[in-house]
């Protein structure tokens, strides 16, 4: 089914949480593992503008649909960061702009040169790069939606569960856009299929790996996806991926978990 970008932009809104009851945190706060995972999620969501930067240097920017989507996506993801920051704040953990700025500075030259690398790839592949961007985005958004669903299922706080459900619902709309675009663009170009497959096999890492320490990545992946229920989510993401043109047989998300020793 075609994704209606106009409808998406008309209905795009910041995630709301003012109506949610977080008062239970006073007597029943989240555990250390959940807070560490939430903090990871919060920082990654705030970092979206830098992921946006990396895509703006590619041909994706000049596709009107993709440009409209990215404008809304960037704002929605920013507000996911704000919402999670609010929950962390209720537990005495501050993730504010000063902290995030210090973190971005600390990432150093490798991260600052990301647009350069991305731009070279975009120049080499031309319009086919958009397909790679789209499938990459789809896998990341499938992962993000699965992560929010898992955390919501693991933490029995009605307010938090509802907040995570709302965030996951927005992530699912992002998935719909990316997957629809990826499907049609991959179907139309053998070069795009080959490069996308190669890129995913060689370079895909769990969302946040480029900005968070390995220990944090491992902790979050183990916290959310270890055990049979977590593994089901991982395998479901790979199944979604293999339904896209040219991606049959790929198990990149399961492989990334295996590499980190996270098993079902």
């Amino acid at each position: 089914m075609a994704f209606d970008v106009q409808r998406f932009t008309r209905t795009s809104d910041r995630v709301q949480w003012a109506d949610l009851d977080f008062s239970t945190f006073a007597d029943n706060p989240l555990g250390a593992d959940a807070l560490r995972t939430l903090r990871y999620m919060c920082e990654v969501e705030y970092h979206t503008v830098c992921y946006l930067r990396d895509q703006l240097v590619t041909p994706s920017r000049r596709s009107a649909d993709v440009a409209a989507f990215m404008t809304m996506w960037n704002r929605e993801e920013f507000w996911h960061g704000e919402a999670l920051s609010h929950v962390l704040g209720l537990h005495g953990i501050t993730v504010d702009y000063d902290y995030l700025k210090a973190k971005r500075i600390k990432l150093g030259w490798w991260e600052r040169l990301a647009p350069l690398r991305q731009s070279v790839a975009g120049n080499v592949l031309g319009q086919d790069f958009i397909a790679v961007h789209m499938i990459w985005g789809a896998v990341n958004e499938w992962s993000a939606a699965a992560a929010y669903r898992r955390l919501g299922a693991m933490e029995p706080h009605p307010g938090l569960t509802e907040l995570l459900r709302r965030i996951a619902a927005q992530e699912s709309r992002h998935v719909a856009f990316y997957a629809t675009q990826a499907r049609s663009r991959l179907a139309g170009s053998r070069k795009a299929r080959r490069f996308a497959r190669l890129a995913l096999q060689r370079a895909w890492e769990p969302v946040g790996s480029s900005i968070m320490d390995d220990d944090e990545v491992r902790h979050v992946m183990a916290h959310l996806f270890a055990g049979p229920d977590g593994r089901k989510e991982i395998e479901a993401i790979d199944r979604h991926l293999t339904r896209l043109p040219g991606m049959d047989g790929l198990t990149i998300v399961a492989d990334a978990m295996d590499e980190r020793g996270i098993t079902g």
Partner: protein
Amino acid sequence: MSLPAAVVPPWQDLDLREFLDHPRPVLLDDDEHAAVRSAHLPAGVLAVLDHLRRGEQATLDWLRDVLLTPTQVETEVTAFLTTWAFEKYWLGQTLQRILDTRPPLPQPQPGVLARGADEIHERLWPVMGTIGTNLVGPAITAGHLAGALADTLAQRVMAIRLAQLAPPLGGLAGAILHSTERHVAFFTAQVHARGGHRLSRAAVRHALRRWRWPAPRRGDRGHLAAVMRYLLGHPCTRDLVVRADSALAVLPGAPARAVLRTEIARFVVHGTTWSQLRVQ
């Protein structure tokens, strides 16, 4: 509100939280659209609207050029730009909706040189800009913000002139002024806050010296000149521009020359006759 005075809105401390919480996208309701649709709009006004539309729809071009520099670590600025881009997207959509009800306008095609320059910028700026600006360091941000302030003031001048040329567009112009007054407040406050550093002042001076009237990079400069002559070639523009230039002149590091007036002179005084004919 006196329109000329509105070029530079009264000083306000921008509450970033309030800005993020309550965006002001420029949207006209169905009745307002119907009124604009039924109004007679001269060809020159439509050309100006189209110029504005193309500028708004090229917002991501500007965002790209800025985000690959050290400005990307400035979290307050990137938070602001997230909502700013959202507001500009909707202004572009509103202008598109107005223009969709009219016969299609001829789209000015850039010449070979302009296309070549755009292609070079498109491919090389991510390389040169990423490395060069990161070597310069965080001072570069002040230049971006000063340039963005000049862009916003120019946009406000255009909105006011549009309302003067075509009164049925008064609602649209008012919405643009309402939406952009917080942009002016943010950019102004940020440039002043960074003014203590010598390199930041140098970046402001450099940005304002090389400032060009806001236009999509892939535009035809001759067509732009014609649109600007039509919109700004009236004596009453002078007061608007002087007010805008006064706001820029007090920025730390601002150049001695009047920024907007110098740029307008390029179009209005030196604009070419052949391009003027295209609009009329």
